[in-house]
């Protein structure tokens, strides 16, 4: 008597055989105790596999977002969702910056060139053991006021020997600046509020982004709605005096802000790759929670590699 091979019984149990094949197998099973025993073993193996795979399933109930919302989203945006939205905006902004640079040689550009040539272009700094955080109290005066239009950019620090914090046995970081003079205009659109560190911590549920070891110059928040955490911009200063800004918020808002900044400051403004921060669950119209993806990114007149290294040092208090 020909017995049924394992794989055929698997296919039988998976209902992957034709009706005639099933009939053939069932006739054989009726007369063959050995194949019946094998079928039972394989059914048990199949059930165990299903149970094991069930253990590695998402824990929350998966509810698809409304299809209409999916349909309303253009493909290009969906392809670039999260990082891509950001990258597209960034690319467009950089291109616009280049175009502006080649077409217009206005005063701002002249100032920018002069400021770049005024200092040595590249400096290195090394992360040293953890210092006392200087996050609080912060300076809350407007940086815009400190750098009035037309005035040469202010320098906040001349001491280039300030040590940055390390993390355990992390390797030293080589931070390279593109330009060295400060551009300290904070010309973000919208209603922004400069707040003390502790207030920012309260508003953001203790999620104010900070690069460990760099003194915090200013924290600005934009409360977009009563139910979600605000958009946050934390400005810090590296030992060479460059301002570094960490922007944290909903991915769309961060992308927009980055685009605006690069459009205004030109291509010398670098931006790190974004990193995801804690998402939020906001009530949707139908009452079900909707997940809002949030990211943080670091901006400054530094090489992108340096900004990415700084991003690795981000802590969310």
């Amino acid at each position: 008597m020909r017995h049924i091979p394992d794989e055929e019984l698997h296919a039988y149990l998976d209902q992957a055989l034709s009706r005639s094949q099933c009939v053939e197998i069932e006739c054989h099973l009726a007369d063959c105790p050995r194949c019946r025993a094998l079928r039972d073993d394989l059914a048990s193996l199949r059930d165990r596999t299903t149970a094991l795979l069930g253990l590695v399933s998402p824990q929350r109930v998966t509810v698809p977002p409304p299809f209409s919302a999916l349909r309303a989203r253009p493909l290009a945006r969906s392809r670039w969702k999260i990082y891509g939205t950001y990258a597209a905006a960034l690319t467009a902004a950089v291109l616009a910056g280049f175009a502006g640079h080649s077409i217009l040689d206005d005063k701002a550009m002249t100032d920018a060139k002069r400021s770049v040539s005024a200092d040595p272009p590249i400096e290195s700094l090394v992360f040293a053991p953890e210092p006392v955080p200087t996050a609080s109290p912060i300076r809350t005066q407007s940086l815009q006021a400190a750098s009035p239009a037309g005035a040469s950019p202010a320098r906040l620090a001349d001491d280039r020997s300030i040590a940055l914090p390390g993390r355990g046995d992390a390797p030293p970081l080589d931070i390279r600046s593109i330009g060295s003079e400060l551009e300290i205009e904070l010309d973000f659109g919208g209603l922004w509020e400069t707040v003390p560190w502790e207030e920012a911590a309260a508003l953001t549920e203790n999620l104010v982004p900070r690069i460990a070891g760099l003194p915090v110059v200013e924290v600005r928040v934009q409360q977009r709605s009563a139910t979600e955490r605000p958009l946050v911009v934390v400005t810090q200063q590296d030992p060479n005096g460059n301002l570094v800004r960490t922007i944290e918020g909903p991915v769309g808002a961060v992308a927009l802000l980055v685009t605006q900044q690069i459009s205004r400051h030109g291509p010398s403004w670098g931006t790190s790759e974004p990193t995801r921060t804690r998402p939020e669950y906001l009530p949707a119209e139908d009452g079900s929670p909707r997940r809002s993806i949030r990211v943080a990114t670091v901006m400054g007149r530094l090489a992108v590699d340096s900004l990415n290294l700084l991003r690795e040092r981000l802590t969310l208090r």
Binding site: E7, L45, L53, V56, S57, P58, T62, L70, S78, R278
Partner: protein, 171 residues
Amino acid sequence: MDNIESLYQTMYGSVVRFLYRKVWDEDRAEDLAQEVFIRAMAHQPEKPRAWIFAVAANLARDEARAAIRRKKHLTLLSNDPIPLSSPSRTAHESVERQEQVAQVQQALSCLSKRDREVLLLWDAGLSYPEIAGQTGLAVGAVGTTLARARKRLVDAHDQTDREEQSHAAHS
């Protein structure tokens, strides 16, 4: 041609589950699943079920590469919030479950790439011909591959379980 919207309603959970077992991040799995369906709407594939899982597998592969490059996958996992809908568990239950999940992950990693892919596609609800179409196997070979994958998964899991128990007994 299947309607993408009806497929979206019926298959979304399966696609998220399939992706989750590749990227091990619930949020990311949902993001990728939504992207898959948006692409399906734009592309209108002739065999949408198989197409959806093929694209999902590609996206998961890209995601894995990106995760390795950025070396932040674990960070994302550890930063994830407690899911809203998860039932509250005692600390003991939670630890126990984490151990069980880790054991299954370990067992899955013992499978060959092809065996794992076929097993996950089958668990996602694809038929043998659909699995064959996606993996390049003959339809007849799908049963053989599945038989091997199931046995290896269970064997690898049991072995890990024995090792854990032995380790616990010694310590």
